[in-house]
């Protein structure tokens, strides 16, 4: 009688099985399809968070994608896309690389599997470490920073003689986005003589003077409050807000409550002793180690449509005193100092018309795995090509040897 395999071996068999790979690929296909349909109703940001965020270990697809009559109902649950991808990567690593029969005959397939694992690892690295923002420039304007479209921060800058000085302390939104329904969090920032206590996070806030018609129990600060308005489907259109209590360290002095929102045009000024601090909530600022000046921009559209045919920009990169001219267009980004500048949008002189643009926007990405997909395609392509050549050669040689038989 054949002995029963040990539990670890059974686990290994399970995780490296072709059956699991097939099931995971099917689930991913279904999830991608459902997410594509769902993002029409709920927006891209929310849908990606729901289906593919690390914290979402299961997903309840919205049944309303099948029609309004199913509104408020859900389809059967599916495992979170992030974990499905992770399992798939593990499955390919175990079954397609580690446990695969090694030999020169399988070299091509092995390479193809390695390429797929590189691609999935690139996706994971990108999700964990990628920094992404936009740099918007008017013609002739220079900038040394990009800003996130969705991530916010609360920044504290000390001011001397009315001007910001020193480093900018910032708290990312992971520390206050969950401060809802009475939950608060105290953030201590080394080097600052006060703590920040966050409460009452609002995903889309409209700072308003107190008005009986609009006030629905929100905290009022100096006659103003953060109205909790409808969340837009496009996350970048939302202006988050938060209530912050500034608490002097060591209990010295009274606390001050303030409203912060990315919709504000100026920071809050906080005086503590003889020191002055500017505090604001803003879309996260990513400094670039060089400056970029927009020299000119051109847009072309398909005739009689608003569909862009090409956007291109001439820019000058200013790295200390060295000025370098660059041409950026769609699919031809500028790569420099670990950053990639992609052409994103621009304002045409006439809507739908070709010509010079007064404004150009670049997507600025710092991604350690930026080129991994390219490497993955090269590895996978080389592997499959090698395998096909091998199979073809085997086939041809096999036929010749059959013919040679008497």
């Amino acid at each position: 009688m054949r002995p029963q395999p040990s539990i670890p071996l059974r686990i290994l068999n399970f995780f490296s099985s072709v059956g699991l790979a097939t099931a995971l690929l099917l689930i991913l296909m279904v999830e991608t399809w459902l997410a594509t349909l769902e993002q029409v109703r709920h927006g891209l940001f929310d849908t990606l968070e729901k289906y593919f965020n690390m914290k979402a270990w299961y997903v309840l697809p919205d049944a309303a994608i099948m029609g309004d009559t199913f509104s408020g109902k859900f389809l059967p649950p599916l495992p979170g896309g992030y974990w499905v991808c992770l399992l798939l990567a593990l499955n390919i690593l175990l079954g397609g690389i580690i446990r695969m029969r090694k030999g020169w005959k399988n070299t091509g397939i092995l390479l193809a599997h390695i390429g797929i694992v590189v691609l999935m690892a690139g996706g994971a690295v990108s999700q964990l470490f990628e920094e992404r923002g936009v740099m918007s420039l008017l013609k002739g304007q220079t900038a040394d920073y990009a800003q996130s479209l969705t991530e916010t921060t609360v920044e504290v800058i000390e001011a001397h003689d009315g001007k910001p000085t020193g480093a900018v302390h910032f708290v990312t939104d992971q520390y206050y986005r969950d401060c809802v329904d009475g939950r608060t969090r105290v953030v201590k920032v080394p080097g600052l003589p006060f703590d920040l206590e966050f409460a009452g996070y609002v995903r889309n806030a409209d700072p308003s003077p107190v008005s009986k018609e609009r006030l629905k129990g929100e905290p009022v600060v100096d006659g103003w409050f953060l109205a909790d308005i409808k969340v837009e489907k496009e996350e970048e259109s939302n202006h988050p807000g938060i209530h912050v209590k500034l608490k002097p360290g060591n209990g010295s002095g009274d606390s001050t409550i303030a409203l912060l929102t990315t919709a504000a045009f100026q920071p809050l000024t906080y005086h503590l002793g003889d020191r002055t601090f500017l505090i604001r909530m803003t879309k996260r600022v990513w400094p670039t180690p060089f400056k970029v000046r927009l020299d000119s921009a051109k847009s072309k559209f398909f005739p009689n449509t608003n569909r862009p045919r090409s956007f291109d920009s001439n820019i000058t990169r200013i790295d200390h005193d060295a000025e370098t001219q660059h041409f950026i267009e769609m699919n031809a980004p500028m790569r420099y100092a670990g950053m990639t500048f992609y052409q994103r949008q621009m304002a045409a002189r006439n809507e739908g018309g070709d010509g010079d643009a007064a404004f150009s926007q670049f997507e600025v990405v710092r991604n350690p795995s930026d080129k991994w997909p390219k490497y993955s395609i090269l590895i996978t392509g080389a592997g499959l090509l090698g395998h096909f050549i091998f199979k073809l050669a085997t086939f041809i040689l096999g036929r010749r040897s059959k013919r040679a038989l008497p």
Partner: protein, 208 residues
């Protein structure tokens, strides 16, 4: 041969926990993680051009209203006036008493058209060019405007019911780019009592 793990210990049968179940525990634990109520955050970045132009001691109006869309600021807000939400028609918006309103706006057209629009709201006779000389001149936002008054039933507009016993006082001025209006409406007795306050408010108006 059983699979060996670190330390050379073999895991043998008898374990009830199945592989998939064990794997699902990890995300469950991760999902349950919340950040603590007190945290220390030590992240900094250098100053950039994004930090230029920050105003120290900005008022709430400076902070929360776009100076391009809402170019006016009140230097003096009389006692008892309450600031209300502004919109594209009411660039500054206040209320007082029982139904009194003050709105500062910018509109198109000319002085006469705007004055007569107000007159229409009170079913009052239209003013003519030659009547301008009779109107009191008031200095507002760096230019000269004319003082306008009307009494009676206020149609109000914007779907409101007409109200009797109302009064309007205000200023209409042309600064060459736009028509600036400062309009106080409300119950006649309350508006009459607020006339000195409105004068003070108009004197304090300035561009942001």
């Amino acid at each position: 041969m059983p699979l060996r793990v670190a330390g050379g210990t073999a895991i043998r049968g008898g374990m009830k926990l199945r592989g998939p179940t064990a794997f699902l525990v990890l995300p469950l634990l991760l999902a349950a993680c919340h950040k603590p109520a007190v945290v220390t955050v030590d992240e900094t970045r250098p100053l950039t051009m994004a930090d230029e132009g920050l105003k120290v001691d900005a008022s709430n109006l400076d902070r929360f209203q776009d100076p391009k869309q809402f170019p006016f600021a009140a230097g003096i807000v009389p006692d008892g006036w309450r600031q209300e939400a502004a919109d594209q028609f009411r660039l500054l918006n206040f209320s007082f008493g029982q139904g009194g309103e003050v709105a500062v706006g910018a509109s198109r057209g000319d002085l006469l058209q705007n004055i007569n629009r107000w007159m229409d709201q009170f079913s009052a006779p239209h003013l003519k060019e030659e009547d301008f000389g009779k109107l009191e001149i008031v200095h507002v936002l760096g230019t000269d405007g004319v003082w306008v008054e009307a009494k009676g039933t206020y149609a109000g507009g914007m779907g409101r019911e007409p109200r009797t016993g109302q009064m309007l006082i205000g200023v209409v001025a042309d600064d060459g780019k736009q028509i600036i209006t400062v309009k106080m409406t409300g119950p006649a007795d309350e508006v009459a009592a607020q006339k000195p306050a409105l004068n003070a408010f108009i004197r304090g108006l300035h561009y942001r």
